[in-house]
Subunit: 455 residues, 2 copies
């Protein structure tokens, strides 16, 4: 039966891509308040599309922040399973804008890839699901299973309100299992089941010295330089071996078993040098880059700033310096505990003569691992393999999807991560893109999966 | 005879302050190319004013960068000494603009201080000289000595073209001695002769890791973080004792003699905590804050930036990180040598997996010391003391004035530093200001000094 839906997708490919372009053209950047109207426009687009497809109760939930789009389809019958689909319509900021080859919000196809912010993370993948549901409705007049759609607009800013909504709406949103497409494959055209995700937490450090920028000639030698002090603090948190030197950071970390190391080794991972442009990879002493990225915790400074950044020189001692830090966590690490020891370390190493303030990120998530042998996972692998014509691999990945932990926590249902992104998509970076080939094969995977699930 | 000039200054105080406001209202920021027109306007203001006063050959020299304003007065006769007056009409940038209580280019008087960018450094002090010459011309019809005026527009960006101009125009600019008012007094109302200045040099460090910002989940653990690597490099250059840990940095440094330490100790210095807002001063181990600021070399990070600085979080590994560094030098240190060992240290400590680039600042100056017993210095001290009603102190200061070294180098004439700034002027910072009281007493000092010089 899924063949008709597949034919519909190929026959209507052009118009579907046009509709995708319309969606990608909306600059729904959630972290920047100037885009509030665009966020609303993206939410409206989804609500209208879901109505057109034939979903019931398509509506927008006022979360207190950006709206969450919800819709459901219950006509597959009470015997049919119900899936909760989660995705997000908000995107990362586009800076540095001058590094984009084409306008991030004017989608452009080059070399078989569609270039636009959100093309891969996550508007593109969300759209694939809706297009597949449209294909089923237009050809069969129904869907193979009951579906509940939950698409939020705050994923890129920590899904601040999602947990509460998932809790408040538990009766309405509840389902037999959940499907999320907000992840990737280890290589283009390599079907991949994510059975492990990293947790996440972060802090911001602010160091304040003088109450205003000082002339370095008049006061150099009399006061601490906040930037230098922040350098001392940060340099004490990770060493040249890429080992995190914060007391207790690795406590309770579930070690990588030889079997798991072998699994990781066998994954045809991407070429990190090629994908990142570095001459040489660097990883935690004792682990390969692949092992560190997929299975070991990380500590990254995402941004740091203080003092003069303009043209030429400005001979000042700046008043403040700031660093934004996030960590990716593995099973065995508690986000709140990690934040606590990071904060303790900062205050322990903070020198006299400056004021050091630590702000804890609201976003926090434990790491996640799923049972690779669950039938719903097996069926996903089968659909993947059929669509891509290649065996599916099972991997752990370095990314964090807090909603995965929350759905598990609140609904306690199996979660299937059907990701179609590729390592070259440049998520969160200039020139984000998504391969049209993955667009086609990904939709075929979904068509087959929904049929399999209720087979 | 100087009494008439003094009377003129007090009788015309209001109109002179209005003219000063007109000068300060021109946003002559030299480091930012968007202010090119304003720089030209400030130069025109000076040329016109010098013409009105009665100087000859008032003209603008095309330096290849911002224009240099020159004028001369030769009618004091061949027996009268000739002074070369140097000042600058360009100013520092105003950022962070939101910290200004009033518009930096709309001068405002509050609590006896005139608030405006350049009010102290250096437009205000330049204007005092011109007003005094005006006073002499309007009352005596002549000046007590021959005067050559040299006012540049590139001091805040390293006086890139000044050295060449001073060399090219040597025959025209040459004089018996030079006077510069681009410095300050150790405390308001405390006449101060600067007998020592620090030298100056700087570098910019750029660290590049991946060729684009990376998703910290997909690549965290596979590549070096450029910000963290820059932290490691910088933290290795100065320690917790505020001692610079770059091999050879202190080589050849002329030690502070007990006599000099006593001199510094006896100077009623400012209250650093009050002036800077720090709870506790910090200085090189073994030296007081005053000793370190006035007589020991310094190393300051003026600015550092990399990665995300916006609202919220952005989970990236940034592509690049940058630090701007300047050092203040003391007698015995060679700027070029210091740049060389800083660069060597950076490359020596640079880890694999990132590209580290060091850019040497063009601006460079050796430290300067003058003989406190020179008659021209003694006369300056006498005029100061008369005008301010207080004994003049002799100090070394942490600031750097490259032109001092260059005039000494090219013209080999005595240089008198007549500074009227005060420690609370907030040079290079938001809310720069200058006391009206210093404006009056400073001009009186100049009136008396010109009379003394040719007495």
């Amino acid at each position: 039966m899924s063949e008709q839906a597949l034919r519909y997708l190929s026959e209507n490919r052009t118009s579907l891509l046009e509709k995708l372009n319309e969606f990608l053209s909306i600059p729904s950047v959630s972290t920047d308040s100037v885009h509030k109207k665009d966020i609303q426009e993206a939410a409206n687009f989804l609500k209208d599309y879901l109505n057109d497809i034939g979903f019931d109760h398509a509506e927008q939930h006022d979360t207190g922040g950006h709206p969450l789009v919800y819709a459901e389809y219950n006509q597959a019958g009470s015997d049919a399973p119900t899936v909760l689909f989660y995705g997000h319509y908000d995107v990362q900021p586009v800076d540095p804008i001058d590094q984009w080859k084409s306008d991030p919000f004017k989608p452009e196809v080059r070399d078989g890839r569609i270039y636009a912010r959100g093309s891969s993370d996550d508007k593109g993948q969300v759209f694939m699901h809706l297009a597949v549901f449209e294909a089923y409705m237009k050809t069969e007049g129904k869907l193979p299973l009951n579906v509940k759609i939950c698409i939020e607009g705050e994923e890129e800013i920590g899904s601040e309100h999602l947990y509460d909504v998932l809790q408040d709406k538990k009766d309405q949103f509840n389902a037999d299992f959940a499907v999320i497409s907000d992840s990737g494959m280890v290589a283009q055209n390599q079907p991949t089941i994510l059975y492990g995700l990293k947790g996440f937490t972060g802090i911001e450090i602010n160091v304040t010295g003088p109450d205003h920028d000082l002339h370095s000639g008049m006061y150099g030698g009399a006061v601490r330089n906040p930037i230098m002090k922040l350098n001392h603090i940060l340099a004490s948190m990770k060493n040249e071996d890429e080992v995190i030197t914060v007391d207790g950071f690795y406590d309770g970390v579930e070690p990588l078993s030889d079997k798991e190391r072998e699994l990781i080794e066998n994954v045809q991972g991407e070429n990190y040098e090629k994908a990142t442009g570095v001459k040489e990879t660097a990883s935690e002493k004792g682990y390969t880059a692949k092992e560190h990225t997929m299975g070991r915790p990380t500590f990254e400074i995402n941004g740091m700033y203080g003092g003069y950044q303009g043209e030429g020189t400005k001979t000042i001692i700046p008043s403040t310096a700031t660093a934004k830090i996030t960590c990716r966590l593995v099973p065995g690490q508690e986000p709140e505990q990690i934040q606590k020891i990071l904060e303790q370390h900062v205050h322990k190493t903070a020198p006299s003569g400056v004021t050091v303030d630590v702000k804890k990120e609201k976003l926090s998530a434990k790491a996640y691992k799923v049972e690779p042998n669950h039938p719903l996972i097996k069926k996903a692998a089968k659909s993947y393999t059929k669509a891509f014509g290649k065996d599916t691999v099972y991997v752990r990945m370095g990314g964090s999807i807090p909603v995965v932990e929350w759905i598990e926590d609140i609904y306690n249902i199996p979660i299937v991560l059907l990701g179609f992104g590729t390592p070259d998509d440049r998520l969160h970076s200039p020139n984000e893109s998504f391969p049209l080939d993955s667009f086609d094969k990904g939709m075929e995977t979904l068509v087959r999966y929904w049929a399999e699930v209720n087979a």
